[in-house]
Amino acid sequence: MTDRTAEKEEVRAGAAIDWTPILLTVAVALAAIPLVGSFSTWVTLTVAALAMGMMIFIMASGLTLVFGLMDVINFGHGVFISVGAYMGLLVLWPLAGWVDSSSVFLNVAVLLLCIAFAMAATGLFGLAFERVIVRPVYGQHLKQILVTMGGLIVVEQLLYAFFGGNPITIALPQSFRGGLAFGPDIVVERYRLIAVAVGVVVFLGMLLVLNRTRIGLLVRAGVENAEMVEALGYNIRRLFIGVFVAGSALAGLGGVMWGFYQQTLTVGMGLQVLVLIFIVVIIGGLGSIGGCLIGSLLVALIANYTAFIEPKIALVSNIGLMLAVLLWRPQGLYPVTKS
């Protein structure tokens, strides 16, 4: 009898979603209202943070899955973001007329073309990078870190050689410029809403693939126990390459979105974002997609609020957040259980 009840309790405990980090994120946002002082400013900051958070999530998700699946940490991931942004530029240059056009249709078309071309290019680039840089040092963490970082340097330098060292300013398509007014004094920039929307679409798409398709099942199982997935008869290498390519393409998508957000492209932008991505995946728990989302939002919220409240603190707020989370949960908010 006692065995039965114990079993049932265990079942209940295991099935629950861990709400604490989610509630914490909401609490952080709410706690910022009095600190920011003005509600309309708070809305602006929060929307900006959501936009930034969703873009970071897009860029970080590939890195965390690649790690979860094959224990590969790719320091070159950052440069995929730069490559994506500059590939978008290649579409933007000849289509400058579409950007300045007042037609919403042409504006959307040019954004979609940028994204499609950048994703295709970074996907292919990821395929080559996996083959040349990652595969030869597979299973050796030390060399992996060194070589992927070396790859980042080389590709960055190639971008410098082809696009020059000066920052390149890019303009948002006409109809994405400016803000939308909600009520008397709340104005939200249009592009931020677009960034949030793209981020939500990517996140939902990812959930759908991970939970409703066989490949998604395999990825989730592989993150937990790659060896057992092989023992069931699946080729985890092929799966890994697929995830690597998809993650690279997402980094390219993030690069385009981030480039429009900053309206300036620099070759070093990828490495800058990579630092944020690392903080995000450490906070979220390496290998966890849900953790990656919560980590992205937390990092972005805190970065935006502190930048407004006390700009000097903002420089180290992410590091502080990371240390606080690691003190609380050393494996990150959502530790991935390896069986």
Binding site: I73, I153, Q157, L326
Partner: protein
């Protein structure tokens, strides 16, 4: 006697011995061998980087963990001396205070980073050091009231280290013993002493445990060695030595700025020097640093010439220009990790069949 100085860790191959002796003698006699400011500048930089790279090898080669914050500790040393000299005054007291403060700050920071990141997974260390070092570089350039921001700090050094100071009226072997020569020898002997201390550390029982952890951390833990503690101590020792190297550079340059200490390009240089010289050999640091700095000072000029020669060809000139120095270093770096993991020291030792 020699065995005690080198902690019993001999080069163990005559070609390596010859190369090391040439480097040692050249550096020891540099003020008398060359004339002009440039060669002495190069020699001083080599001394500083030998210490910096050797301290990095303690971490990468002997402990098996990758840090991207080594230039941060280098910078802490540089800024420690710079801030003390600029704010307190150009005397030895400031140098002492700056050095001590920098070493303490570097050690404590390394300990905190180590305890936070090494507790979970060694891989966190690489990611967290990258994040912390980036934040530190941004901080240093933003807090211009303290650090001089992007412009850095220029300051005066204690009197006997200034170029105008003369030890005596005469010359030794045709070279006037001025403040620069004295500074050079402070840099040289401090770097040499630091290097020998590192050699002692890696050949001590502590160093042997580090290597056991590098080979198999799980097993070392099972044998009762607290892996996190050992790795953290190694990280602290490495950081303190890097800070010392930073102090030496600050004394030599009489200037400290983001580009001389904190930049990511220097981190890449250090990585390359360790890998090309030979990870986990200490002597690799000597060879890697000497070779790379010579190349940077003399090959870059050659590359500039090549770039100009190829100026007619569209992309070739862009790829060969001196600005793309890092491109070729990066490729060399990747190839070295693949095909040359034991570095030059490993090759030289293999040459004579001894390991």
């Amino acid at each position: 006697m020699l065995g005690r100085i080198l902690s019993g860790d001999f080069p163990r191959a005559w070609p390596l011995m010859v190369v090391l002796l040439i480097i040692l003698l050249t550096l020891a006699l540099a003020p008398f061998l060359f004339s002009g400011a440039q060669p002495l500048n190069v020699a001083a930089k080599i001394c500083v980087f030998i210490l910096l790279v050797a301290s990095y090898d303690l971490l990468l080669g002997y402990t098996g963990i990758v840090s991207f914050a080594h230039t941060m500790f280098f910078g802490i040393g540089g800024y420690g001396a710079a801030i003390a000299l600029a704010r307190i005054g150009p005397d030895w007291g400031s140098v002492a205070i700056g050095t001590l403060a920098a070493m303490i700050v570097a050690g404590v920071l390394a300990l905190v980073i180590g305890l936070f990141s090494l507790r979970v997974r060694a891989i966190f260390f690489a990611m967290i050091t990258l994040a912390v070092a980036t934040a530190f570089a941004v901080l240093a350039s933003q807090l211009s009231g303290i650090t001089g921001g992007e412009d850095g700090l220029s300051y005066r050094v204690p009197e006997i280290l200034r170029p105008s100071f003369r030890l005596s009226e005469g010359t030794v072997l045709g070279t006037a013993i001025n403040g620069r020569v004295i500074t050079y020898y402070i840099v040289f002997f401090a770097a040499l002493a630091g290097f020998l201390v590192l050699l002692r550390i890696v050949n001590s029982p502590f160093g042997r445990v580090l290597q056991a952890i590098r080979e198999n951390d799980f097993r070392a833990e099972a044998l009762g060695y607290p892996v996190v503690v050992y790795r953290s101590i190694a990280s602290v020792a490495s950081a303190v030595m890097a800070a010392l190297a930073g102090v030496l550079l600050a004394l030599w340059l009489r200037y400290t700025g983001p580009d001389t200490t904190l930049s990511f390009a220097i981190m890449i240089d250090v990585l390359l020097m360790v890998v090309i010289g030979g990870m986990g050999t200490m002597y690799g640091a000597v060879i890697g640093a000497s070779l790379m700095i010579l190349a940077e000072n003399y090959l870059q000029a050659l590359m500039k010439g090549l770039g100009e020669a190829a100026s007619g060809v569209p992309f070739a000139s862009a790829l060969l220009s001196a600005d793309r120095w890092l491109l070729w270093l990066g490729i060399l770096f990747i190839l070295s990790v693949y095909f040359f993991p034991a570095g030059i020291v490993g090759k030289l030792r293999a040459l004579t069949g001894k390991r």
